[in-house]
């Protein structure tokens, strides 16, 4: 875990700007912005074709590329130290844990999803089988 060890120096002298965050040249910002727009158009166009359940995967893939672009360049994540990377990634990991934790529960749950309200209508076998 690399740290900026707080080297003490005379408080009155101006701190060296390079100790602060990175500056990103303008053309990089422009390229990132344009590619974001292009990706948006792509994701809309692709959604026209039906890939069955791959729709979701494709859409999420494109969205993730766009998200990475914004995070790495616009948010300067590329030049941050490892601790910030860790705390940027952990919430996504926890989202994954939450989804997996809940989805290993769902498909195997017993019984159908929407029986009507009262038992009268639930199990036909019980319904008014008075002889």
């Amino acid at each position: 875990m690399s740290e900026n060890s707080s080297h003490s120096h005379d408080a009155h002298a101006l701190p060296d700007p390079h100790d602060f965050g990175h500056t990103v040249p303008y053309p990089v910002y422009l390229k990132v912005f344009v590619s974001l727009l292009v990706l948006t158009v792509i994701t809309v166009v692709i959604s026209r074709f039906d890939f069955g359940e791959f729709n979701l995967v494709v859409a999420m893939l494109i969205a993730s590329i766009k998200a990475l672009l914004v995070a790495l360049f616009f948010m300067h994540l590329k030049f941050e130290n490892k601790i910030v990377w860790l705390y940027a990634g952990v919430p996504l990991f926890l989202l994954g844990v939450m989804l997996i934790g809940i989805f290993i529960d769902n498909p195997y749950r017993m019984g159908d999803r929407q029986p009507s309200r009262t038992t009268e209508h639930i199990a036909p076998k019980y319904n008014g089988s008075s002889h």
């Binding site: 707080s6 910002y29 910030v84 705390y87 940027a88 939450m98």
Partner: protein
């Protein structure tokens, strides 16, 4: 988010010295470099909590999409994807200008910072207006909360309003934060050694944009 970035009283030099030569505001128990990196780490931690807030809603969205696949499929046809796409472009552009604002602040060009931030705030406003139009359209179709047709897509609309409502709230907060950061630029406070507020504001704004990048395909496109 003023509470996140820590500043003592701004007792640096007189107004006329060029921005690059001014020392950053004195933080009473840390030197400027540590204060900057501390603020950055603190902001990323706060972004982590925001992502987790939306993670809960995305999980709920996934669950209900799995339960009511047909209803979600039909309901997402109701949404106007053209408006959605326009909104996405607006937010991407506002993210772009927010990044430029940070870049300007890093070079001490306070006037440019104000210009860029105001463009971002304006884009946020446009986004909210378009959102209001969409909500209005739903209201007229009776599909707003409590409307007579609400029950038709009640499960989709419940999650839809939660997601877009919370996101819109975060857009408003983001606009306030950017405005707060621009007030400091108006007072020509930013310099290569001090631009933390605008960077934190821009980080928050980029997060709001990030969330919309995922919301747009999930709600509008995957029909």
């Amino acid at each position: 988010m003023s509470s996140v970035a820590q500043h003592g009283t701004t007792d640096f030099g007189s107004m006329d010295t060029a921005p690059e030569h001014r020392a950053p505001p004195h933080v009473h128990h840390m030197d400027a470099v540590t204060a900057y990196h501390a603020a950055k780490l603190g902001m990323w931690l706060f972004l982590a909590t925001e992502i987790l807030l939306f993670a809960v809603l995305f999980t709920a969205f996934a669950i209900f999409k799995w339960y009511y696949f047909a209803e979600f499929h039909a309901a997402s046809k109701e949404l106007n994807w053209k408006l959605g796409m326009f909104n996405t472009a607006v937010l991407l552009f506002s993210s772009f200008t927010a990044a430029l604002a940070v870049d300007a602040a890093q070079h001490g060009q306070n006037r440019k910072v104000v210009k860029n931030l105001f463009i971002s705030i304006a884009c946020g406003g446009i986004f909210l207006i378009v959102k209001a139009i969409e909500y209005g359209a739903k209201y007229s179709h009776g599909m707003f909360i409590g409307g007579e047709h609400f029950h038709q897509f009640s499960n989709f609309l419940s999650i839809y309003y939660c997601l877009t409502g919370l996101h819109a709230l975060h857009v408003v907060i983001g606009m306030i934060v950017l405005f707060w950061a621009s007030t400091k630029a108006m007072r020509r406070m930013y310099s290569p050694v001090y631009y933390t507020p605008v960077e934190l504001g821009a980080l928050y704004w980029h997060l709001v944009d990030l969330i919309w990048i995922y919301l747009f395909p999930l709600l509008y496109l995957i029909g």
